[in-house]
């Protein structure tokens, strides 16, 4: 890398949807008439057929806007970057619907009249950092649930302020840990560049602490005292979903398994489990400060390796970057890490549920790797557990038992060889289901793989093993490199110097991320976008679009996925970590300025 890439101010899409009767709409919009534009000789593909555009308007910033029956196309003749040359605005993220009736330009604002409403569109210039702060503020305001950040339901479409207070995710721990990593790097970057006492540094530290403590709380909230990690937890007054295994903490120091379909399936309804290990006060304040007691707290079990992998990475960087003057936090991390690692080792490389059986998706044992599902999982899970052991050695400062198991897994069970087989087994597994292994892939493990390899390669000191793990990381190229996501690319580049990194494409990714994570969908049926029919029959786009013209997704999605219908729920707002994790990782590690 020659030096950090200089990200620039760039135009961002700000949109407001209004009913047609709104007083805010200038009356000129309703009387706007323009000649049908002739775009037949336009030199680039357009989202609608050139003959479909029937009206146009030019805003003061020089952008020319064209209306068609599939939304609005903006052409910026002065755009420095090709990705801003042609921009597409479609329902439901940017328009109430795609039937444009008229356009009207008022200074830098474009007004759009559609069949069912109007839109006010303005391209405002922001820095990437300003965007990160906007997104963070939205997440804190609308998504944060006692520090956990995944997504929230809105009672009114598009109105972020109507987010309900409850709502959980299976992967609250995983998403919150990723968010926490971003905030830790945010803090560390500010500390390095602005000094430890700068207000921006202090506020970033508070955010990083809050997120990391939330993760540690999930690692301690069960009170089982054996390192068991909860997926998430609910306050006593939050509704209980019939989804997964929930345990309610009781006054007698136990927790009882609640009546859900999953609990019935496993025969665990009413089962009691130890819950008397105290939750550290610093962590419990997340709910105690809101007036909740431990009794009545319901935590979710059957925790997966996804959760644990992100928790280990969060602990690793919280330990390195947050604990300088915070012995209490350091101690909490060391203890939580030790407990969890002991649990895994003591249970034969498995996370055990209250019924004495392993959880569904947290298994790293050789026996599992020889089962039909575990055979394909083994290549990633082997990396995970080796990473856990490396992080534990790093955090505890001890080798002993951890090293003994690390060497055993490599020397006896060849856990260093298994990761090299990832794509071969994955392709085989995909083939068994009639899919096209090159494209109809499972993207759900991308972030897990990135974090597992990141932690493992970074902490491994043996050169030969390091190289082997680097080679194994490249077996994930098929999924990781099908999109441009600095959240994957930066960690991979950190530990794998020859990892491909197209900085211009990454800059476009930052520039084209939205300023809001409202889950409003977009129209993918476009004149310039072929629908790709895959071997197994599913559909993808033929080219990867920029994030602002794609549905709002978290990591671990197929960003080439094609939908005939507009997807996205106007009543859901998503976490910002997709952007903030990538941005602050890039800043802290010197990829971008």
């Amino acid at each position: 890398m020659e030096g950090p890439y200089q990200l620039k101010k760039h135009k961002c899409r700000f949109v407001k949807i209004l009913p047609l009767y709104s007083d805010e709409i200038p009356q000129e919009l309703f009387y706007a008439v323009t000649d049908k534009p002739d775009l037949r000789s336009f030199p680039y593909p357009l989202p609608a057929s050139p003959s479909a555009y029937f009206c146009s308007a030019q805003t003061a910033d020089g952008i020319i806007w064209y209306g068609a029956d599939n939304g609005v196309t903006a052409i910026d003749p002065n755009a420095e970057r090709p990705s801003f040359r042609v921009m597409y605005f479609s329902a439901e993220r940017y328009l109430p619907d795609n039937e444009v009736k008229s356009l009207y330009a008022e200074d830098n604002v474009l007004w759009v009249q559609c069949r069912t409403g109007a839109a006010r569109i303005e391209m405002k210039e922001l820095t990437c950092e300003e965007k990160a702060m906007l997104l963070y503020a939205e997440t804190r305001k609308a998504v944060d649930r006692r520090g956990m950040v995944t997504s929230k339901h809105l009672t009114e479409p598009r109105l972020i302020e109507t987010a309900v207070s409850y709502g959980h995710s299976d992967n609250d721990g995983c998403f919150t840990a990723a968010f926490a990593l971003g905030e830790i790097f945010h803090y560390a970057y500010n500390k390095k560049t602005k000094g430890p006492n700068h207000p921006d540094t202090l506020s970033a530290k508070a955010a990083a602490n809050r997120a990391s403590e939330t993760c540690l709380l999930l690692m301690n909230i069960s009170g089982r005292g054996n390192g068991f990690v909860a997926r998430t937890y609910l306050a006593p007054d939050e509704p209980l979903p019939n989804d997964g295994l929930f345990f309610r903490k009781t006054e007698d120091g136990t927790a009882v398994c609640l009546d859900t379909n999953e609990a019935r399936r496993r025969g665990m309804v009413g089962m009691k489990v130890k819950a008397d290990t105290p939750v550290p006060a610093r962590l419990a304040r997340q709910y105690r400060s809101l007036g909740y007691d431990d009794v009545g707290i319901r935590y979710k079990g059957d925790t997966s390796s996804d959760e644990l992998t992100l928790h280990f990475m969060n602990m690793r960087y919280a330990f390195d970057l947050l604990c300088d003057e915070d012995d209490e936090l350091r101690e909490l991390i060391v203890r939580s890490c030790t407990n969890l690692m002991n649990h895994i080792i003591d249970n034969g490389y498995r996370l055990m549920e209250a019924d004495g059986k392993p959880t569904t998706w947290a298994r790293w044992d050789p026996e599992y790797f020889h089962s039909p599902v575990g055979w394909a999982d083994a290549c990633l899970n082997a990396v995970e557990i080796l990473m856990y052991l490396q992080v534990t050695m790093h955090i505890t400062g001890e080798q002993g038992k951890w090293r003994e198991h690390y060497e055993k897994l490599i020397n006896k069970y060849h856990y260093d060889e298994l990761p090299l087989l990832h794509y071969d087994r994955f392709a085989h597994y995909s083939y068994a289901f009639g899919n096209d292994c090159e494209e109809e892939l499972m993207y759900g493990d991308n972030m897990l793989a990135v974090c597992a390899f990141w932690g493992l390669i970074d902490l491994e000191t043996d050169t030969a093993r390091k190289e082997k793990f680097r080679k194994a990381l490249r077996t994930w190229d098929h999924t990781l490199l099908r999109e441009v996501n600095p959240g994957y690319l930066y960690p991979c580049k950190l530990v794998c110097p020859d990892y491909p990194l197209d900085e211009e494409a990454v800059a476009d990714w930052f520039y084209h991320n939205n300023v809001s994570r409202l889950e409003a969908g977009v129209n993918m049926v476009r004149h310039d976008q072929p629908k790709r029919i895959l071997f197994g029959g599913s559909a993808e786009t033929s080219w990867l679009m920029q994030p602002d013209e794609l549905p709002i997704e978290r990591y671990d999605s197929n960003f080439n996925s094609y939908h005939e219908e507009i997807r996205g729920n106007l009543q859901t707002v998503e976490t910002c970590y997709v952007y903030t994790f990538a941005y602050w990782t890039g800043k802290y590690f010197g990829f971008i300025v």
Partner: protein, 825 residues
Amino acid sequence: MENKKNIHLIGNAHLDPVWLWQRMEGQTEVLQTFRSALDRLREYDDFVFTCSSAAYYEWVEKTDPKMFREIVLAVRDGRWIPVGGMWVQADCNIPSGESFARQLLYSQLYFLEKFGRICKTGYHVDSFGHNAMLPQLLKQGGMNQYVMMRPSEKENPTIPQGLFWWESPDGTRVMTYHIPTGYGEHGRAALDRTMKKLREMAQGNDHSMMLFYGVGNHGGGPTRGDVEYLLHHREKSEDLVFSSPDTYFEEVKKTMVDLPVWKTELQHHASGCYSATSLVKTQNRQTENRLYAAEVWDTVASQLVNRVPETARFADAWKKVCFQQFHDILCGCSIVEAYDDVRDAFGYAKTVADETKTNALLQISHEIDTWVEGVSDPVSGDARHNDGGRDFLRPVVVFNSLSVPVTAPVRVPSPSARVYDETHEPVLFSNVRSSASNGSHQDTLFLAQIPPFGYRTYWLGETDDGGVKARSHLKAGKSFMENEAMRVEFDRQTGGITRLLDKKTGVEYCNGRQLGVPMVLRDEKTDTWAHNVFTFDEFIGPMALESMELVEKDGVRAVLRLRFVYEKSYLSCDYILAEGASVLRVKCRALWQEKFTIVKVPFDLGGKEPVFTSQIPDGYLVREPVGTEEPCQKWIDLTVTDGEGKRCGLALLNDCRYSCDCTNTRLSLTVLRNVIFADHYSNRPPADFRYTDEGLSCFEYGILLHGGEASPAALTGEAQRFNIRPDVILAGYHKGGRPQKASFIKIDAPNVLVTALKFSEDGSGSVVLRLYETDGKPKTRISVMSELLNCGFYSDLTANQIKTFRIEPNGRVYDVNFLEGIDKK
């Protein structure tokens, strides 16, 4: 967990429709074999029959509809399993990528129409080698599993036996079964021996295996004796399963076995087959090229004017080509009589192409405004062209059917005194000797520059108006020629190139060596296939130079004619260097009257660190320069580090050859192979043998120099230009709404080549555009713009990826596979 280790019994009949017999006999053989297979199905409830090749099914459908209905029912019952997904079991090295697409398209759509399903398993159990792009080609044809047999373990022990993943350069994988025994075991002893071997392998590999049984080659299929013997064994052994390749793959894909991954081609078995019988190779390339251009212009014309596209005729023509690509035909190892049929079949396809293209081009050119006021006033031809000093320029429209721009000399009958383009800019031209022995004896040759998928109008005048003329930079003498790109000098004693200078890089390629002298080799010890011989190196010596003559020396091009002789044979080579050209063309005509010889044209570059690259179907491949005879497509390249430490290379393009070798720093194109027809390990009892490549052969190769490493994209573009030349229409004068220069489709990436522009087979009016990435670049975004097709879209391509776009009349575009999305409807 324990994986199954069954032996899947695959009842089949290997059917060569042409080999030591002609097609009529092959058809009879198919009818007999299918009858026999249906009888076995009726006699034995568990028996399952597997059969490839859509052509055979179509024969039966046409000649015995009643039997065909029986087959339809058997397929429906899952007891007769069509496999292969191709028209025949094609040779898998010589057909172009587009030919593979057509093999798959027409066959899979046939199977879909007749049986309601496409084939799941690719199947080439007898084909002699398998190109490295085949996994992607198969997958694009709807199949992700493959059965093959050659080369054997003895021929190439490094290829996994049994099951493995085969991956093409783009990353596509197909699960592949390499038959370790034979495709047609029959008789108790053979079955016993094979069962024993396969059981051992199943244990060792930890997965099931397939046993292919049934009398083959000339058809036959499983006998009652064999079926009953296997039934008898099955009573004792639970691991025997009457099965099909489809069922086998269904089982093994569920096993948890880390299979080997093979990432290159599967060679070598019959190394002589890529040069034997040049006739069929030449016909194949010419027909592929002509059908491509004809479909392009049929599509454009049908979009442009009120014209019914000739899709059905093209399908018929392509099926003829597909049939001739059967491995024993295209590899030149059938009996000599078979090649009369081959020539006629290709002739049919070429006639379809030529008629259709000519009609389409005339229709398009008629839309162009070439009207000149006053041109219709005179009443005689002489007056029209020389009307009292009014020299009416004659309009000529030159068409480029490629997706890359073309600059090339084009020839028009009759001489000219001036040539202009559509903007009245002078164009370089010269008058050259025509082939006619009467009239003016001259043609006009001018340098045309035509946009991709487009045309350009040029104006030719009979009288000189004294205007400015375009100037040539060519120089030529009795033994040298030079343009802006290169200088070439020849030895007047040997005809060898003694100086070959790349003027852009300053690299001199000869340095005391002589390049390009045709070399004769002895080839008597092996058979037509060259079984067990993988290197041809029994050199007799160079052909002797008989004469050297400078035929053309200024204007558009210089031509030096060299005539070489050997015994009773000669080879005439016209070295043609055109103004501005980067390729030195060598137009060859050979009259060969020898026995057991090979002719190669070698280029020894010297230097070190050789990298040998060949074009393969829809791709390219780097091979070790170890002297083995290798199949190739339109170009081969050798790049070396020269004495000054510079990387530089020489590529050889060709218009109809498929075989080459590279021995360290010597690159050779094999141009003739002269062995007995269909000589299969025989002891050659006395006869009046016919030899392949006896008589007259015409072919061209081209020499292209480059600095640095080879650019497969640049070479692929040049090779395509070398193969598919511009078409000239003598347009006449007419009014029209089209401009005098146009490009109908623009594709903005230099590393992409279009291989098909046609109408969809479903008659919907949708247009199909197929292209592939030619340079191995990991990511390429292309844009395709066409007002004619009402489309403008982007697409991302990965390295070596093939893409097929279906462009609907409303401009909606689908990114589909070779089956055009028809199978997904």
